[in-house]
């Protein structure tokens, strides 16, 4: 990738988009072809155009060569980036799925439009239609044949690349090829002629070659056809080799004009030679064509001219794009991204419009632009609304662009609810409002909770602490009645939680739950309120949750913190007796968190009992009456905040000493002793006294260290002990 910078890729991306959109313009012109027999296309317009005939011929001469050339380039790029397995996975999704799904959807539509068009062309009396060729593998691929052809090229390219890698271990062969490609491209026009030769060789042996069609389109069969394999395969292989070769792209950019002129001259020559009739007449394609001034153009000459036109225009246009379109442009990027979908979907739209306008008494110069503009408008609109932001866009372009993405403002801190002191009246009842009794619950053999006993008393806040995966969310899910325990008993408000009546007294804010993006917090709270017999006033609820400021903004447009506050509002709107808050302050900034805490205290003051899970000890310390620490599914510690503080107040003492481990462990205030070679590590509650005694008993003691055991450390010690 070092020599092919991203600027270049933007240019090539634009070229590919151009080739695909040119295909739409080409097909849109096909109902205006002069001299075409009726029935060859879905519609025969009553205003044919020699100009469109010429333009369509020229564009058709090079557009697929250009496309496969770029495709070869990107194929090698992608293969280098993803490896063989990744490459096939990517291609299966981006090429294989559109081929199959596109065909299933498009073929009936195309058939219907064709049927309608031909009925119109023949005035209702359909002549006998030529059926599919009666040969093995016959299949109407329609314009999606290029995807099928691409898959063939991918398979061949990887097969060849694997073979070459095995045979050419010293890279000698590949080095030679790279130098050959670079040196041929360095000369103007020569590359065009060299590449035209295989195209001519592929076209010459065809018994029924219609000059107009150039490389015959393999859209009628699943059996790979020699002429397109060679003709377009040359283009694909050239793209692949150009990606290998360091100097190839700059050379193309340098010689864009001579290459383009060579192609244009060849195309003009062919146009002139076909002036009498746009198609070689049946039965005589092998004969020399008589030109208007008596000169003749043989089949071989025409075949060579075709190759030169295709390659001159393809290389010339690529060079021009590298020269002028090498920067990033959002518009070009958008069009390039849209082009794949547009080309896939365009045929029924274009043909239906052609059928519609076919008999209008208007000149083609009005009708053709109308067909083209109207179909592009429909296709771009469908891309913008139905493809770009959806799974289809992700499939076709590798990414999905969110609708109306914009930056959402920071969450405003919620307005704090009144914070009265806790009255004894709300705390007298010590009986549990919710309990887990001997609960065991496992998921697929992994024990999430192991014989856990927990009680939530009336009017208290119980904080469940523990690392990720400890079992906190499982405990809450059991209480909410979302899970059944394997063993033990769950009680909520005096009964099993599954009973609907209990849920009248329940509020919940769950982790990893997203509310509907399209609704506003006000609507969400209103909906949740409607479930309860005696809900809070809507505005009061929003105010208590601190959600008033963004109550009328769509939930999907809120920031992470605002979403949490909206969920909090939904949880408290029913004036619940028991409230479950699973990690409520994740994503909140300090101010918003403080205000949320104030709201929670306000709820406690009204007699609500709360279970809160959290990672943060400060949160538990600020709010909880009791703390329970869970680790690996077991209840490790539980007690009042003061008791937890005592755990937290421990200090780490370490020193080099001869004192005996067991002796020190027996001292008052020492909780834990561990020896590491000549160093003793102890955990002590009353560190000063322990240190004094250590120094007394061992005058030779050295390298003394005393460290505060932080909140997290205490917590970690507890949870590690459980492990």
């Amino acid at each position: 990738m070092s020599h092919h910078d991203h600027q270049r890729l933007h240019a090539l991306d634009a070229v590919r988009g151009f080739a695909l959109l040119l295909g739409v313009a080409f097909h849109a012109a096909l109902s205006f072809m002069p001299g075409w027999p009726p029935g060859l296309w879905a519609m025969q317009d009553n205003s044919p155009s020699a100009f469109l005939g010429g333009a369509a011929f020229v564009s058709h001469a090079f557009r697929m060569t250009l496309f496969f050339f770029i495709a070869g380039y990107f194929a090698r790029l992608l293969h280098g980036r993803l490896g063989t397995a990744g490459f096939w996975k990517n291609r299966a999704l981006r090429i294989g799925v559109p081929l199959v799904a596109g065909w299933v959807v498009l073929f009936p539509l195309i058939s219907a439009v064709w049927l309608a068009g031909l009925t119109k062309v023949f005035g209702g009396a359909l002549p006998e239609m030529p059926g599919m060729p009666k040969v093995a593998g016959a299949f109407p691929l329609t314009h999606l044949w290029f995807l099928y052809q691409l898959l063939q090229f991918y398979a061949l390219a990887l097969l060849l690349a694997g073979l070459v890698a095995r045979l050419d271990r010293g890279q000698a062969l590949r080095g030679l090829a790279d130098r050959a490609v670079a040196s041929v491209l360095r000369l103007p026009v020569v590359a065009v002629v060299v590449l035209a030769l295989p195209v001519a060789c592929a076209l010459l042996p065809l018994p029924n070659w219609f000059y107009w069609t150039g490389i015959p389109t393999p859209d009628q069969t699943l059996i790979p056809q020699v002429a397109p394999l060679v003709g377009y395969g040359t283009a694909f292989a050239t793209g692949w080799l150009v990606h290998r070769s360091a100097g190839a792209l700059p050379a193309l950019a340098r010689h864009w004009l001579p290459n383009l002129l060579a192609g244009a001259l060849a195309a003009a020559w062919m146009l002139a030679s076909m002036r009498t009739t746009p198609m070689a007449p049946d039965g005589v394609p092998a004969e020399p064509l008589v030109l208007f001034d008596g000169a003749v153009l043989t089949k071989s000459g025409f075949a060579l001219m075709h190759g030169i036109a295709a390659w001159g225009l393809a290389l010339g246009l690529t060079g021009a794009a590298l020269r002028w379109l090498d920067g990033y442009s959002p518009v070009r990027r958008y069009v390039a991204d849209a082009s794949y979908w547009i080309y896939l979907a365009h045929l029924p739209v274009v043909a239906a419009l052609q059928v519609w306008v076919g008999h209008w008494p208007l000149h083609w110069s009005l009708k053709y632009p109308f067909v083209l503009v109207a179909s592009l408008a429909v296709l771009f609109a469908s891309y913008h609304w139905l493809v770009r932001p959806t799974l289809i866009g992700q499939l076709l372009n590798g990414r999905r662009v969110r609708r109306g993405k914009g930056d959402s403002p920071r969450p405003e801190p919620p307005s704090p609810a009144p914070h009265p002191t806790r009255s004894s009246a709300t705390r007298d009842g010590a009986s549990p409002v919710a309990s887990l009794q001997g609960i065991t619950r496992s998921f697929g053999g992994v024990v999430a909770l192991d014989r856990v006993e927990l009680q939530l008393r009336h009017g208290e806040l119980l904080a469940l602490l523990g690392p990720n995966g400890a079992g906190k969310t499982t405990a809450i899910s059991l209480w909410l009645g979302l899970l059944e325990p394997d063993a033990g008993r769950v009680e909520l408000l005096g009964g099993p939680p599954q009973e609907t009546a209990r849920r009248q007294g329940l509020g919940a804010m769950m982790q990893d739950v997203e509310l509907p993006r399209e609704l506003t917090p006000r609507e969400l709270v209103r909906l949740a309120s409607s479930y309860y017999a005696d809900p809070l006033d809507l505005d009061e609820c929003l105010r208590r949750a601190g959600a008033t400021a963004f109550a009328d903004r769509a939930y999907g447009k809120l920031s992470g913190g605002q979403k949490r506050l909206a969920q909090f509002a939904v949880a408290i709107c029913g004036q619940p007796r028991v409230l479950f808050l699973d990690e409520p302050s994740v994503g909140l900034d300090v101010q918003a968190r403080e205000a949320l805490w104030a709201s929670i205290r306000g709820l406690l003051a009204t007699g609500c009992s709360i279970v809160l899970t959290t990672h943060y000890l400060e949160e538990a310390e600020a709010l909880a009456d009791r703390v329970a620490v869970i680790a690996k599914g077991r209840l490790v510690a539980s007690g009042s905040v003061d008791e937890m503080r005592a755990l937290v107040a421990r200090r780490q003492v370490s020193c080099e000493t001869r004192l005996d481990e067991a002796e020190v462990a027996a001292w008052p205030g020492v909780q834990e002793v561990r020896r590491e070679r000549n160093r003793l590590h102890l955990t002590a509650i009353d560190a000063e006294r322990v240190v004094r005694r250590l120094l007394d008993q061992d005058p030779a003691l050295s390298r003394l260290e005393v460290r505060e055991a932080g909140l997290n450390e205490a917590f970690n010690t507890l949870t590690k002990e459980a492990a």
């Binding site: 439009v113 009925t119 209702g124 009986s431 769950m510 509907p516 399209e518 007796r577 479950f580």
Partner: protein, 263 residues
């Protein structure tokens, strides 16, 4: 405090509040559909646009010469109009809600049992009517519905009711697949059915054996019986009714089974 007493003290919502919960649920569901242009636009506009294009413009004078063809085309595009909101609206939103954990939250809330389901089906039917009316208006204005008023009413009722099997299909898809994949799978089930049931164009005889597999075929048959168009009646009325109900029950059963197992 006595634990057993506490539950009794919980106030039960009055019938009026219960009704209000259902209404609120329906209102929110409708708002969500309306505010989702990726769903509302194709679902509401595509059928009438396609009908106008194919039946009026592309098909040209054929329906004018044979009025029954006009009725058949009208019924086909109307089934498309009434069935898409149910299928895609319910399927996509339910799949997304399951992914978002919304159903889990609803189970923890005292929401009336099945309120969300009632809301989704009501919206599926309601949006079906919204999509159907423009098709009906266009057909009447273009004079492509050559039927008595009573026949038109019967046909309309059948067409609106034909959304029910597709609501069930949407439920099934919403419970079988996750999030953003659901619309794709819905298409995969729905689109082949539209073509292979002979809904949009006549099928060759070699394909006739497989049409009963598609619910589209049976609802179109119901519509043809309601419209009294004999030339397009390929199965008896009782058979069509039984099939439509059968499909609804089959899809609902799969959905209920999945919801019970996975939530």
């Amino acid at each position: 405090m006595n634990i057993a007493l506490q539950a009794h003290q919980l106030p039960a919502p009055s019938p009026r509040r219960l009704l209000r919960a259902y209404a609120e649920e329906i209102r929110c569901e409708a708002l969500r559909m309306l505010r989702n242009p990726g769903l509302a636009v194709p679902v509401l506009l595509m059928p009438v646009a396609l009908y106008a294009l194919i039946a009026l413009v592309v098909a040209g004078e054929a329906p004018a010469e044979d009025p029954t063809v006009g009725v058949f085309l009208f019924a086909a595009f109307s089934v498309m109009a009434t069935s898409m909101p149910g299928l895609f609206g319910i399927g996509a939103s339910l799949a997304m809600e399951r992914e978002m954990g919304l159903l889990r939250l609803k189970r923890a809330q005292p929401a009336p049992a099945g309120a969300w389901l009632v809301a989704k089906i009501a919206c599926g039917l309601g949006f079906g009517v919204l999509a159907y009316v423009p098709v009906l208006v266009v057909a009447l204005l273009a004079g492509r519905l050559d039927l008595d008023a009573s026949r038109i009413v019967a046909l309309s009722l059948v067409l609106v009711a034909s959304a029910i099997p597709f609501c069930a299909m949407g439920l099934m898809i919403g419970t079988l697949f996750r999030g953003s994949a659901a619309p794709g799978y819905a298409n995969l089930v729905y689109l082949p059915g539209c073509y292979l049931s002979g809904m949009f164009f006549p099928l060759p005889g070699s394909l006739h054996w497989q049409v009963p597999v598609w619910p589209q075929f049976h609802v179109i048959q119901l519509a043809m019986h309601a419209a009294g168009v004999g030339t397009f009646q390929f199965e008896p009325l009782a058979m069509a009714i039984a099939s439509a109900i059968g499909f609804t029950m089959l899809f609902s059963a799969v959905a209920i089974w999945r919801l019970a197992r996975k939530g």
